[in-house]
């Protein structure tokens, strides 16, 4: 395989691994702030219990996010030097603002948030928690600005083949940015809601019935039930925006080859990139046209419009985009179903006391269902990013720079070897991360504190307090 394909696979592997952790930390930071503030006002220890448990998972996720993020920032130079050479004047300042306004903020206050609770006043600790949450959201903002600009570039001019900024306001508030940023923030909150719900359900199942667990579970399910309809609505708006600026991507998402009016919504199909048609189509007539144009007979451009006269294909690979999109939407529908059903069960009243049942209303099969959904947010988020990013191909910056123009001139064997090394490290770390979360949950359910190994001699034991 050549360096180009390998570099793409390597980039996709690295960024897919990276995004898993910011997706958790972006929203979890705010959730921790919520727990912390609830405690400040109510002085009810259950909120500190929830804080104490989730802050550990936050720390673990943050570390994973940071180290994989550092890998990302080197990738541009090692594998995609053409990217910075051609659009560096625009990408550079955006990345610089991310480092300066976000990374330092979160990194420095993280220390105080994790280890400073007993060294600083409560309000300083609460402020540190806020600043970390704010910092992660700022990172998301700047990187999404850059990414959205790559999809819908504006506010620049090309001089000697290099992009120069003409209007920073237009660059930052490019047409797809508001949709993408809102959709990503909600994705993060949904991922965290299902993570907290899943782990809390797991703790209930193995017998850890503390008030902290129940409050966390209730908070998470309620948040999920409120946010998922919003996410689906925003997803629809996002799609309409994409239809305007990247019609080839939408055609691939819908699997539409020929321009047609009254296009069906395909529930199942096997798009064939070679034969340029779908096999085994199952669809609902006219629904795609209705969703995308709000008119049953609206016209949708087909993929065949995006083939140049000389036969060069200017649209993305259809099958990957088509299926990623369906995985995301399918997961979203499942989330809607699970969260609403759980809320309905929690709202039922006990026939004897007349009180709402709360988490006690969730029968074991429901709890198992929630455990199964623990990482569903990851699945939807990755599928969503694949839709977006693969859907932009063959462009790296839509209409400006193709991916092929940006690739580094490094030998394929070298890329292959680093790719294998990364994949091994990622597989090990992902397993370790997921099992550590469940391990912490089991330990918390047994009511054990975090153990650390302490020197057996009594003198050393007195001197060394456990490190976490």
């Amino acid at each position: 395989m050549d360096a180009f394909i390998l570099s793409r696979i390597q980039f996709a592997a690295n960024i897919s691994f990276h995004i898993l952790f910011p997706t958790i930390t972006i929203a979890l930071g705010w959730v921790l702030l919520y727990f912390r503030v609830r405690f400040n006002f109510s002085k009810d220890p259950k909120w500190m219990e929830a804080y104490g448990f989730w802050v550990k998972i936050f720390a673990l996720s943050f570390a994973m996010g940071v180290v994989s993020g550092i890998t990302m920032s080197f990738q541009f130079g090692t594998n995609w030097p053409g990217f910075m050479e051609i659009v560096g004047n625009i990408a550079g300042p955006l990345l610089a603002y991310e480092v300066m306004t976000a990374f330092f903020l979160e990194a420095v206050f993280l220390g105080i948030m994790l280890f400073g609770a007993r060294r600083v006043k409560p309000w300083v600790h609460t402020t540190a928690t806020f600043l970390v949450a704010f910092g992660t959201s700022m990172s998301a903002f700047w990187i999404i600005v850059l990414n959205s600009w790559m999809h819908t570039p504006q506010g620049y001019e090309m001089i000697d083949g290099v992009a120069h900024a003409t209007d920073w306001w237009a660059i930052v508030f490019n047409p797809s940015m508001p949709y993408r940023f809102a959709h990503m923030m909600l994705a993060s909150f949904l991922t965290v809601s299902f993570l907290i719900a899943g782990i809390s359900a797991f703790r209930l199942l193995i017998g850890g019935h503390t008030n902290g667990v129940k409050s966390a579970l209730r908070t998470a399910i309620t948040a999920a039930a409120l946010l998922i309809p919003l996410q689906i609505y925003l997803g629809d708006l996002h799609g309409l925006n994409t239809k305007e600026y990247q019609p080839a991507k939408v055609a691939a998402m819908e699997g539409i080859w020929e321009t047609e009016s009254g296009a069906p919504l395909l529930l199942f199909a096997l798009p064939d990139n070679e034969a340029r048609e779908n096999h085994f189509e199952i669809g609902i007539p006219k629904l795609a046209s209705f969703i995308l144009t709000h008119d049953w007979n609206g016209e949708i451009k087909g993929l065949n419009e995006f083939v140049a006269d000389d036969g060069t294909i200017l649209h993305p690979p259809v099958d990957k985009v088509f299926w990623s999109f369906r995985v995301m939407v399918g997961t979203g529908v499942l989330m809607l179903f699970v969260s609403w059903a759980s809320v309905a069960l929690m709202l039922r009243r006990d026939p004897v006391t007349g009180a709402r049942r709360g988490t006690a209303g969730l029968a074991r099969p429901v709890l198992y269902g929630l455990v199964a959904m623990t990482f569903s947010g990851w699945l939807a988020t990755l599928a969503g990013w694949y839709t977006t990013e693969i859907g932009r191909q063959p462009w790296l910056v839509q209409g400006v720079l193709t991916t092929e123009m940006a690739v580094a001139d490094v030998p394929g064997a070298m890329v292959a070897s680093t790719l294998i090394a990364y994949l091994i490290v990622y597989a090990i770390l992902l397993t370790a991360y997921m099992s550590a979360i469940f391990y912490l949950a089991r330990k918390a359910a047994r009511g054990e504190p975090i153990r650390t190994r302490v020197d057996p001699s009594p003198k050393a034991q007195a001197a060394v307090l456990p490190a976490e």
Partner: protein
């Protein structure tokens, strides 16, 4: 021509200074926490916990200086960024994997089951070692002009070892400052054992740099520059002698001057770095690409500079705040 009133001159220069400062802060700050990782095999289990506690609140922010330094290279000198990183493709990958390993081991060792802890301790050490060795290797390759010939690689292997020992030295001085009792006494020995890495490293690079390039030779050994450059080596020598004498008698009663070795190490590092920066200026890719040739468009640099002027002092401010909050001996590192 070369007037500093011209933005295509002063902007790249300002960014070169910013990048230099970030790299320097990085090698000092991450230097000490990498060093702590390098010293792991010499410590027992209880000591390891204390060593981790001494860097816990800081390591993440320390690594962010690397992100900033590479970020500035990326945004201010994009062409150089591409050339340097593609030339150093493999050592960069080794470094990144090392950084990944140590960053996560740090968290996992406290959260994974007890019987896995030793494994994560080794991961922490191995990650620190990979990171230090590859950084030293890249330093050597950079000094040699980024060309992969056998003698150059040999030299880079040497600097890899020296930098690693040098990091373990600065790590030891950090532990000396942040701990007490038996561990502190041990750290004095570690510092004595590690100082030669720093000395040899500085010597090797000082000797090799002028040898590789006539231009750099002339910069150092022509009159009158040599006169006002002379204090630099003299200052470094005095520092080394002072450090050595101090370490013989440490720790002093009442923990007096426990910060001094770390401070002296920082000063040494700074003067060595200053010397290197002087040698290479105005080149960013040695002998190939100057900062002026590879700089981004002035309007983009200007946008970044405006932000920097406000943000960098703020960052410095809250970094100092964090070191102040966690001042004193590292004791209990707990999430509550």
């Amino acid at each position: 021509m070369n007037t500093f009133g011209d933005p295509t001159i002063w902007l790249p220069f300002a960014f070169a200074i910013l990048m230099g400062v970030s790299i320097l802060i990085y090698v000092i700050l991450d230097g000490f926490d990498l060093g702590v990782g390098l010293l792991f095999p010499f410590a027992d289990a209880g000591e390891k916990d204390k060593m981790i506690a001494s860097i816990g609140p800081f390591w993440d922010a320390n690594e962010t200086w690397l992100v900033l330094a590479v970020g500035i290279l990326l945004v201010a000198f994009p062409a150089a960024h591409g050339q340097i990183l593609t030339a150093l493709y493999l050592p960069v990958a080794v470094m990144l994997i090392g950084l990944i390993m140590r960053g996560v081991a740090f968290e996992f060792r406290a959260k994974a089951p007890l019987d896995h802890k030793t494994r994560w301790d080794w991961t922490f050490f191995a990650g620190s070692l990979m990171t230090s060795l590859s950084q030293g290797f890249m330093l050597g390759m950079y000094v040699m002009g980024l060309t992969w010939t056998l003698p150059h690689v040999g030299f880079a292997l040497l600097t890899a070892v020296f930098l690693t020992v040098g990091y373990s030295f600065i790590g030891a001085t950090w532990i000396l400052h942040k701990t007490e009792g038996y561990l502190q006494m041990k750290s004095v020995d570690w510092a004595k054992g590690g100082i030669w890495g720093l000395v040899l490293g500085i010597a090797a690079i000082s000797l090799a740099t002028p040898y590789v390039s006539d231009r750099i030779f002339d910069k150092w050994f022509s009159f009158p520059e040599a006169l006002w450059l002379a204090p630099l080596p003299v200052f470094s020598t005095v520092l080394i002698v002072w450090l050595w004498r101090m370490l013989q008698a440490m720790p002093y009663p009442d923990d007096r001057l426990s910060w001094a070795p770390f401070a002296a190490a920082t000063a040494l590092w700074t003067s060595a770095f200053g010397g290197m920066a002087y040698s290479f200026y105005p080149y960013v890719v040695p002998e190939k690409l100057t900062i002026y040739e590879s700089a981004s468009a002035p309007e983009s640099l200007f946008i970044i500079l405006i932000g920097t002027v406000f943000v960098l002092p703020t960052i410095m401010g809250y970094t100092v705040l964090s070191y102040f909050i966690f001042r004193g001996k590292a004791s209990d590192l707990r999430y509550d």
